[in-house]
Structure formats: C-alpha cells, structure tokens
C-alpha cells in the first residue's frame, strides 16, 4: 500500500442523458483506452444520483471536458470540484465477512463465547453477520455474531 506514489485526485460530476448513467461509465472507460493523456482512476454511477456520473481524476477540469466530448450521452461537466466527503456516503465498503463461507471453521474473538471454535452455518453479507454453531458443544445452538468478531481457522471443512 505504501509503495504507491501519492497523487491527489479530485471528484468531478458529469451530467448524462437520463437512464444512461451506467452506459456513460462504460463509454468513459472505453474512451480512456485510446487517450493516455487523460487520467481517470475511477468512475461511478450511484443509483441515488440520477442523471450524473462521478469521475475521480488527478487531472484538471479541462481534461474532463475533453473526455466529455468523446463520450456519447455525456452532456456537461459540472463546474467546480467536489470534496471526497460529499461522495463518501455512496461508498459501502466490501463486507467484513469476506472469505467466510458455510463450513468455514472460525474462532470467536469477542463476546461471551470468546475463544470457542465454531462452524459457520450461514453468512448474511448485507448485515455483515454470520450464524455459527459451537464446535465442541453437545447440543448445537446457532449463534449470530458480527463478521469481525471471528477469526478464520480453517477454510476446508471436511
């Protein structure tokens, strides 16, 4: 992570034809392939933001204007830069339960059963919760815990 050179990027908003937001995202990426002089690191179309796409770029607005001219259904670049904090709420990080599936053996690292081993029975990625059954318990009782309250011990459960 630290080896990447630090470059400062800016968020620009680009107005699009209605319902063409995702197409415009794809078309921007396509246009970039033939134009090395324009640097864009990410493009996104949040569903809440109808008629716009957001472009993250280290370049000036003039470059983004140049890009806009090459992209069908892109209508205008909104003047001015946006702060990252203005778009941050659109970004939902990947769930913390990544890498945990049914059958994965985990150790509980928090809560009343801390230190106990358990088998994962169900993963709810939207709520970032997993349901486990304690490994050594005689009567299997399902317990639901937060995904970051477990540590993966073994991925290949036989």
């Amino acid at each position: 992570m630290t080896d990447a050179e630090e470059i400062k990027t800016t968020i620009y908003a680009m107005k699009t034809t209605a319902k063409q937001e995702r197409t415009v995202v794809d078309n921007i990426v396509k246009a970039l392939e033939d134009h090395d002089e324009i640097r864009v690191v990410a493009v996104m179309a949040p569903d809440e933001l109808k008629g716009y796409v957001l472009i993250e770029s280290p370049d000036s607005i003039a470059r983004i204007e140049q890009l806009r001219e090459m992209v069908p259904n892109a209508r205008a670049v909104v003047k001015g830069e946006m702060a990252f904090s203005e778009i941050e709420h659109f970004l939902v990080p990947k769930p913390v339960v990544t890498g945990i599936d049914e059958g994965t053996i985990v150790e509980l690292i928090a809560g009343p059963f801390k230190g106990e081993k358990a088998v994962v029975k169900r993963v709810d990625t939207s709520k970032e919760e997993i349901t486990v059954e304690l490994y050594e318990s005689m009567v299997p009782i399902p317990i639901t815990v937060r995904g970051d309250n477990v540590r993966v011990i073994d991925k290949t459960h036989e």
């Binding site: 990447a4 640097r39 990410a42 970004l91 939207s126």
Partner: protein, 67 residues
C-alpha cells in the same frame, strides 16, 4: 424468452465484482446476486481514493451495494 434475452448483470456477493459467467473470476465465489445498486468502474486502484474506501485492489466493474 424475450424478457430473458436482455442479460441481467450479476454481482459477486463476496467481493462486489460484476460477474459475466457462473463464478467470480476474482475470488472464485459462485454466490452471485442480481439485486445490486450503484455501478462503479475502478481503473487504477492504487491511486483511487474511492477504491481505497471500498477496499478494492483490482481494476474492473463493481457494484456499490449488493443485497
């Protein structure tokens, strides 16, 4: 048949990647969802604050939210 010809893009529940086939090429998961929102294209994950915030380190197409 007509309604099925328009392909619905599916997304990996595990890593949010947009998937073309039956399994995710990035993480191998076949836990896919058609119920997702927000479209994100990461071009250069090393230099993108958006990618950093989303915990994404591979270029490609992603969903902002997966249900």
């Amino acid at each position: 048949m007509a309604s099925k010809t328009k392909k619905v893009l599916r997304v990996c529940r595990n890593c949010h990647h947009v998937v073309d086939g039956e399994a995710c090429v990035t993480c191998g998961s076949s836990n896919l969802s058609e119920d997702w929102a927000g479209y994100l294209y990461i071009v250069d994950p090393k230099h993108s604050k958006i990618a950093e915030k989303m915990n994404i380190d591979m270029p490609g197409r992603y969903a902002l939210k997966v249900r």
